[in-house]
């Protein structure tokens, strides 16, 4: 074990313009070990992962440093030579297998092509079987003859992993292999990867933005921020006692379904490419910053056995603390019902057949109550929300607001009822019109639905922005100039400008980084209490739900499986499907308690 499986020294990757993306990155992974690489979006994880294979994306160059894999130099080396090593010495599993598998090649063919090219002497049949077994996929001809689009997302990812493993590489780099998959599917895939780690001598680099996921897989974790590793250490220790304030902030921000508590976001926004200042890039968001931090970049230094940290003041990093749990809600009271859905049925007309998205769904939302709608992808959450907002015509059933039936489509509803129900959408990048200023976007509902005069608009905009804790100056800017979190706040401000009674939040945080997510969730929780809003909160993330909701409705295939108080449903689920969901939700074994991670159900992804 003299030569580590992966060694990177002083790796530097830049844009062609010379702006650095990744700087002085050193990594060393012993054979058979798994390194988890975590960090928020844009921190340079994928860039590093690709550089380990000597690969760079268009518009980017590897400007310096060395990478060796099992003694073979990958960087610097000419493309022709390094390419022959990819796939056989080190292989890569991409984030979105749906995009990365050749759409016009059958699964079997894609696997065989690897063999034919890298190991022509090996027998294709057994090799295929071996690789597919590792990822728990069938290896019969019928399966091999499928095209990628004929596989589910989880299967696609397993195929991608099988392709990466078929030539028995020394190192596999997995770049967010579970991001975008459903919790149940993700759990199954993670279990598979874990088994692989235990049963083979494969060295892995596991890249993810999700600390909980990485914690369940990796032997060691490296945390990246703004293109640099800020902390590295053995998984358990790093999670229990983070030394870098950023690592600590990340852990604090991860919601936990089993033990709900208030979340705490990291203030500010993550640093992007460019505009990096001479000092510590985390300094602007740091709570233990000293003047020195702004001037000089700390080095990545050992801080005890096997631990490295890049902070001058790491000794001052406070230990993790248990935050107060979410306040329990008042008892139910039928007279306080705001909105009611009665036997709601909805479907989508597909190309030929109808897809049922809701079948006989009934529930009620009380004034000031926060109700969560959870369920895996495609269970009909969004459709129900759109029915309530008048964007989708239900097939049957009624929606009652204060006991009065609402017209199916928004255009037919009264101005008043349109005002009282507001919706915020999932994707922060398309929830605001990029061609309208923030001010216009916020003022529009107020003017249309509340008849606000043109003159009164700026004042209204300012107060709306203040409510979502954004500076008033932002009103004249356009959405593309805003970060994802800021945009979601603006979207919320826009909804609030109508002074609604019910706010529907459809996965408002799922596209956001954890630190930002925490801040947005905090905001919603605050607004509820200060404005007495009712919230219909849609999410697939039980942790998030646990933090902000009073009641949970579990949905599957358009049918309500279980509903009840959040505490009870999440802690003591009764429906088998809910049980599965809850146990599949990743959670972190924090230093402040004594759980050992979470159980992994052995449910393979349904085809």
């Amino acid at each position: 074990m003299s030569e580590p499986a992966v060694r990177a020294e002083g790796l530097r990757v830049e844009l062609l313009s010379g702006t650095p993306i990744v700087e002085d990155l050193d990594l060393s992974i012993a054979r058979g070990q798994t390194l988890g690489l975590v960090g928020e979006s844009g921190s340079g994880k994928t860039t590093v992962a690709l550089a380990l294979l000597g690969y760079r994306r268009a518009g980017v160059k590897i400007a310096g440093g060395r990478v060796t894999i099992a003694g073979e130099t990958m960087v610097p080396r000419v493309e022709r030579e390094v390419r022959r090593l990819r796939g056989r010495l080190v292989s890569y599993v991409p984030q979105e297998p749906g995009m990365a598998l050749n759409p016009s090649m059958r699964v079997g063919e894609q696997l065989r092509a690897m063999l034919r090219f890298h190991a022509p002497s090996r027998q294709a049949g057994p090799a295929l079987r071996e690789a597919l077994e590792w990822v728990e996929l069938p290896s019969d001809e019928q399966f091999l003859r499928r095209f990628p689009h004929q596989l589910s997302g989880g299967q696609q990812q397993r195929v991608a992993i099988a392709i990466a493993l078929i030539c028995r590489p020394v190192v596999a780099v997995l770049d967010e292999p579970t991001t975008g998959l459903d919790v149940l599917v993700q759990a199954g895939l993670l279990a598979g990867v874990r088994r692989l780690r235990e049963e083979s001598r494969l060295t892995m680099v596991y890249v993810s933005h999700d600390l909980a996921v990485v914690a369940s897989i990796a032997d060691r974790i490296a945390v990246m921020y703004a293109g640099r590793v800020v902390e590295e250490g053995p998984t358990a220790e790093l999670i229990r006692a983070p030394r870098h304030p950023y690592t600590r902030g990340l852990i604090e921000a991860v919601p936990d379904p089993a033990k709900p508590r208030r979340l705490q976001g990291i203030p500010g926004v993550a640093m992007g490419v460019g505009g990096r200042l001479p000092g510590c890039p985390f300094a602007p968001r740091c709570s233990q910053r000293v003047p020195h931090c702004d001037r000089e970049l700390p080095a990545l230094e050992p801080s005890g056995a096997e631990r490295l940290v890049r902070c001058f003041e790491w000794k001052r990093t406070p230990p993790l603390v248990r935050l107060p749990p979410q306040l329990a809600r008042l008892e139910r009271d039928a007279s306080r019902v705001l909105l009611e859905a009665e036997d709601l049925a909805a479907s989508h007309r597909g190309r030929r057949e109808r897809v049922t998205a809701a079948a006989g769904v009934s529930f009620a939302i009380e004034r000031g109550e926060s109700v969560a709608l959870v369920g895996e992808s495609g269970s009909g959450k969004t459709t129900i929300a759109r029915c309530i907002a008048g964007l989708h015509r239900p097939d049957a059933g009624r929606i009652l607001l204060d006991g009065a039936s609402l017209a199916p489509l928004a255009a037919q509803r009264s101005v008043e009822s349109r005002r009282r129900i507001q919706i915020v959408f999932q994707n922060p990048y398309d929830s605001l019109n990029p061609r309208h200023t923030i001010g216009d976007a916020i003022a529009r509902p107020a003017r249309l639905l509340r008849g606000l005069s043109r003159a009164a608009a700026p004042g209204e905009v300012a107060s709306a922005l203040e409510r979502v804790r954004l500076p008033a100056g932002i009103a004249s800017r356009y959405p593309p100039e805003l970060s994802g979190g800021e945009r979601q706040r603006v979207a919320i401000a826009r909804a609030l400008a109508a002074e609604p009674d019910l706010l529907i939040c459809d996965e408002v945080t799922s596209a956001l980084d954890v630190s930002v997510q925490a801040a947005v969730l905090e905001l919603i929780a605050d607004l509820r209490t200060t404005l007495g809003l009712s919230v219909l909160f849609i999410s697939h993330d039980l942790g998030v739900v646990a933090c902000v909701c009073d009641r949970v409705i579990v949905l599957r295939d358009g049918v309500v499986r279980e509903q009840g108080p959040a505490g009870r449903v999440l802690a003591h689920p009764s429906d088998p499907y809910t049980i599965q969901l809850v146990s599949a939700a990743p959670a972190i074994a924090r230093g402040d308690e004594d759980t050992d991670g979470y159980a992994m159900p052995a449910t393979p992804a349904s085809p």
């Binding site: 928004a410 349109r418 919706i423 959408f425 398309d430 929830s431 019109n433 639905l449 826009r494």
Partner: protein, 272 residues
């Protein structure tokens, strides 16, 4: 526009538009006046010689850009007005409206373009308006399809849904919410379409289905004087070169524009 080819193209376009715009002010003779005997070689008096009727080639060249540039631009503009409207409505309304409009576009595409222009030119008389309408019609289906596809895409975005949820009128949603966001898709091929229009206007004029003599028009000049290609080359070659230069330049600009939209899309893709 960062590429040098794009800049060269833009420079040529500007020069030619200037020629067309101020040319008539500096032309030495009236474009229709017969000032000499036909097909005189270039001389001090007639810098580019004379044409088939003894008119001054230079003066006709200076006047002749207006029709090509003007008509092609107007036709393209009209095509966009109609095509964008159809595409927006089809893409936003979906369903039956969409199907009907798109089938109508299919019909227009299947109508042989020459027949369309022939019927228009012979039926309604050959004049600028007919030419513009004919050229515009040939573009409409293509534009409508592109706009429709883009609209389909944009109309499911959160901000459009939000507008629908607060009960905005369709006009507002189409004009204020959707249109600004598909403008780059629309603009990306304006240049290509404009140069297509120029070629079509020129070809139609050349075939005698468009403008008629004695209009001074580059394409007409080519067809009027083409038999003097060997004896009085400037009368044919100069307008031919100008048309080619114009379309090449417009294409260069279009290319650069499309590429700049393309890269910005890419960058957005990468940044996410």
């Amino acid at each position: 526009m960062r590429s040098w080819t794009g800049r060269i193209g833009a420079a040529i376009v500007i020069v030619l538009v200037l020629v067309a715009a101020i040319g008539p002010l500096v032309a030495p003779y009236s474009p229709t006046a017969i000032v000499g005997i036909p097909y005189q070689a270039p001389s001090g008096r007639f810098l580019l010689g004379t044409d088939s009727l003894g008119r001054d080639v230079l003066s006709r060249v200076l006047y002749g850009g207006r029709t090509v540039i003007g008509l092609a631009s107007v036709a393209t503009l009209m095509a966009y007005l109609v095509g964008v409207t159809i595409g927006l409505i089809a893409g936003y309304r979906r369903g039956l409206t969409d199907a009907t409009l798109m089938r109508a576009m299919d019909v227009v595409i299947a109508f042989p373009p020459i027949l369309l222009l022939l019927v228009l030119a012979t039926g309604a008389g050959a004049n600028a308006l007919v030419l513009v309408i004919g050229v515009a019609i040939t573009h409409v289906p293509g534009i409508a399809r592109v706009v429709r596809a883009a609209t389909l895409d944009v109309s499911v975005r959160g901000y459009v849904e939000a507008a629908a949820a607060r009960g905005e009128r369709s006009g507002f949603i189409l004009g204020r919410e959707i249109l600004p966001n598909i403008s780059s898709t629309i603009l990306a091929d304006v240049g290509i379409r404009l140069s297509g229009s120029i070629l079509l206007v020129a070809s139609v004029n050349y075939l005698g289905l468009g403008l008629r003599p004695p209009t001074a028009d580059w394409a007409l000049m080519i067809s009027e004087n083409r038999e003097a290609l060997t004896t009085q080359p400037p009368a044919v070659v100069v307008p031919a070169l100008l048309i080619a230069a114009l379309t090449i330049a417009v294409n260069l600009v279009a290319d650069a524009v499309a590429r700049s939209f393309g890269t910005s899309v890419e960058e957005r893709g990468v940044a996410r």
